[in-house]
Symmetry: C2
Subunit: 309 residues, 2 copies
Amino acid sequence: MDELAEAVVAGDRRALARAITLVESGAPGLRELSADLFPHTGRAHTVGLTGAPGAGKSSLTAALIQEARSHDLGVAVLAIDPTSPFTGGALLGDRLRMQMHATDPGVFIRSMATRGHLGGLALAAPEAIRVLDASGRDVIVVETVGVGQVEVEVATAADTTIVVVTPGWGDSIQVAKAGIMEIADVFVVNKSDMEGADRAVRDLRTMLEMGPERDWVPPVVATSTLQSSGVSELWEAATAHREYLEASGELIVRRSARLLSEVEDIVAQTLRERAAASLEATPELIEDLTQRRLDPYAAADLTLRSIPG
Amino acid sequence: MDELAEAVVAGDRRALARAITLVESGAPGLRELSADLFPHTGRAHTVGLTGAPGAGKSSLTAALIQEARSHDLGVAVLAIDPTSPFTGGALLGDRLRMQMHATDPGVFIRSMATRGHLGGLALAAPEAIRVLDASGRDVIVVETVGVGQVEVEVATAADTTIVVVTPGWGDSIQVAKAGIMEIADVFVVNKSDMEGADRAVRDLRTMLEMGPERDWVPPVVATSTLQSSGVSELWEAATAHREYLEASGELIVRRSARLLSEVEDIVAQTLRERAAASLEATPELIEDLTQRRLDPYAAADLTLRSIPG
């Protein structure tokens, strides 16, 4: 095994930071590292935290860290920056908010952008999570910005997905429109000190009751990081969900499906790169497309024929 | 040319509806239809409308329809449902809000889910837009829910992207965090009758000024659909952007890049299907993955070798 991989497995913080940078940048060596670490993964409880911007996810993450530490568990946080050339320092405030844990060796916090990684967030996130997992952390919290398709995919690529809403964020129809009802394992109404919190909790419970029957009905927890209330209930809800996953066998099923989908992503990404290279080599095809002499499907066919298998 | 394609090009509403259903479901015949329509596309001004849930995009779309009609332009609206098994009827309210235009033959409104289409939203949306374009509509408004990566991609696959925020939605840092500064051609602060609207407009303008220099600086327009104010300013801003695109040559560049990216998507999707089929045929590989005897990259390699080129 490589030196870096060994240091990661031993729990070395600097090695951990270097390994995540490797994932982020997609630099050479990532593949080997990934292979070395893989047998050491699968132990941590991964928790995805998602919700609209401004819902207070970062403060909630900080509160969850504290809760995990009070149970003597090692924690890692992966805060995922949206890939955006404008917003380089935008998550700085969040990082600062979590700095109260910066001196605790049991807590590892890392923001990750995905500018270098060719597969983007969808491939980089599970790799980074495995690095943290291999380092022996008990709980890994993944925080993403936004509730878009890819962001939701990342948050749901966790054992337990927590969806955070606020009383002021929108009515239940808005929650349904955003398509987040079916991805939540645990619902949080954060900023429960604000007006309308009780109603938001009631509305969500009603919506969940009206939904299709399922073995695990997502609990709805009201939290206020301002008043430090509800966080231990949230912790218990997340832990109960993990126990449900293990007892029901759902954990293995979910993780296996995730790995399979990741392999598909890697294969597709590799082939896509070959397709792009092939397209680049045929300027006349691009011209035909632009002039609308060749439709996209026909152009795809020509490209497919030219890709080495 | 096929009968359906002919009817679409002739502007027949029922044919239009049938064609979009074909796109939505990814049914056989879609490819041929797409090829038949392609030479008839490229005339319409496509406008993408995006923003957080609850920002009032649907009301704004309705107001834009009215504005376009007052200029005697034919309009089509494509409202894109998030792919979600829970929320089948969730956009019904929006559709109702737009029904005041239901009897106007110059207006065609259609919601689209993308459950059947294998390429998902990323492939279905541009196809649907081309169908509407080929039917001779002057303006096509594409409304998406959310500001996630895929949703943003769809909204930005338009000539002009309008980003809608509200005074209460969050501060400018939140806007930056959501990564939407760089995708907007026009900014709208909707619900300008609410407190904080002036400040939101000022904040956005300041942020845009602080950003990198560019030929087109996105105007910030304050609208209130409640008070019917600002909509004609928004219309003018969108029209000015279209004129800028044509005059600068940017229109051809953008559209060409979009077509190329679509070809890449089709190729990648085709190859991904082959990969999934190949994986399905190898249960022992899946077992090795689940047991962590084989890492995702190694599994991807084995799969790549087994895909017919």
